[in-house]
Symmetry: C2
């Protein structure tokens, strides 16, 4: 591993530890850890919690290497010249029990082929009216992005809106967020700092929003709306999500890939 | 419409009426009917029941026409010469409330391009141990197939096993059944009779198996197993089912296409 690779890997591991600690504190329950090996080299560890506050939540980290298949090479930057890759990533999905707390998703990754880049993002999927919180959420995102590049919020919000769109239903998955890929400004420190700060923002925001609403009363109607919204989440992930498709097609760890599925969903 | 097209369409409509009548009798509830128009010509009617015995069940019929898109032409027999198509079909999915009654799926269709053929099949997805019933189910299928062609059971069972296979989980969706496509022996009456008898068998079998188990006791563990099994059903339909993919990609009626989704499913 290069120094850069070591630094990124270590920072994702730290973030994982911090997220696990804070979610366990909020929930009262414990994460279950399970390691898996990649078909190439390396592997990952998934951590799953099934708790009272977090109905189902997963935090995955992985560091893997290998050779891209023939069909992948033309699709991945820098893989045509040499199919070898190295990647490290962290991915988080939280499905809270309370319909007043949104489902939350975050991931960042660092990919190396003959090229190097970061990818990632965070977005939020409430099932209830969330107008005020939506505004606050995007204010926080904008402030975070503006600290790094004045164009990031506009660009990465747009990317998120376009990506997390459920085409067949003509509706967005949630209320947006930020999404970026192929990020390489040729200033590693700068890019890495944006990625790390995205992780911190997710840490702060998820803790804030769960704490704020977890003990508020909700009723059966709220729950029904939540379970319906979650079925759209399933549709998006299985039909459109690149990570899910990529993972399942390349023989990735099924449990880790489908960790994002909600604990229960309805198409009633 | 040709005489053949009229006959097939009418027979699917009859089957729909019989299935709806028998399911309403078993359940005590009523189907809700909703018609939709196709982007080309024609359209369909979906009938959905959300009842006490049938937690969610749908019976769709449709008769549509149009022109296959450029990308479809090379994949559909006879469409290269002329992209016009005409199709009529019936499709049924039943998700019973009791975990002791399997989910059941049936469909048949008649497609005309410059070629003509039938397609269809039926299969069953229990969540409990179903060993004895599995044997009976396949005996009935074999008897039915043998009435028409001594190779059909072997061939169409194999096709079903291969089709309804959840690759990423390395497990079958259910306990099999029969599946066929591009059926044209150049004896329309013979092929049509096989298709009609498949419908009759589904009618008889679904009535038989629901009646047999609907009032048997089950417990929370049975229900949990059922909801988990249903999540695999969702995964199959969204990731692999050709009809679902075809429908969503060609701008079909989303509600009709996703009628097959279970009322509630869990990835707990």
């Amino acid at each position: 591993m290069t120094n850069e690779q070591k630094m990124v890997k270590k920072s994702f591991l730290n973030l994982r530890d911090n997220l696990v600690k804070s979610f366990e504190k909020i929930d009262g329950g414990k994460f279950n850890f399970k390691s898996w090996k990649h078909s190439g080299s390396g592997g990952g560890t998934m951590a799953i919690i099934k708790g009272k506050v977090i109905e189902k939540g997963g935090v995955n980290i992985s560091t893997v290497g290998g050779q891209f298949s023939e069909s992948m090479r033309s699709r991945i930057p820098g893989a045509k010249e040499d199919p070898s890759y190295w990647a490290t990533g962290i991915s988080v999905v939280i499905h809270p029990k309370s319909p007043l707390v949104p489902s939350m998703h975050f991931n960042t990754r660092y990919l190396n082929t003959t090229k190097k880049w970061f990818g990632g993002g965070m977005d939020v999927t409430p099932s209830n009216k969330f107008e005020k919180e939506k505004k606050t959420f995007h204010q926080k995102l904008k402030k975070h992005c503006d600290n790094h590049n004045i164009n990031y919020y506009k660009d990465h919000k747009k990317w998120c809106d376009e990506y997390f769109y459920i085409k067949h239903r003509k509706e967005p998955r949630g209320i947006g967020g930020i999404f970026f890929d192929y990020l390489n400004t040729e200033d590693f420190k700068k890019d890495f700092s944006y990625v790390k700060d995205t992780g911190k923002l997710f840490y702060n925001y998820s803790n804030y929003i769960i704490e704020k609403y977890k003990d508020h009363d909700w009723n059966e109607k709220d729950r029904i709306r939540q379970l319906r919204k979650r079925s759209r989440y399933v549709e998006f992930n299985l039909l459109y999500d690149r990570g899910t498709k990529f993972g399942l097609e390349t023989g990735g760890n099924v449990e880790a890939i489908l960790m994002s599925m909600p604990p229960i969903a309805s198409w009633d």
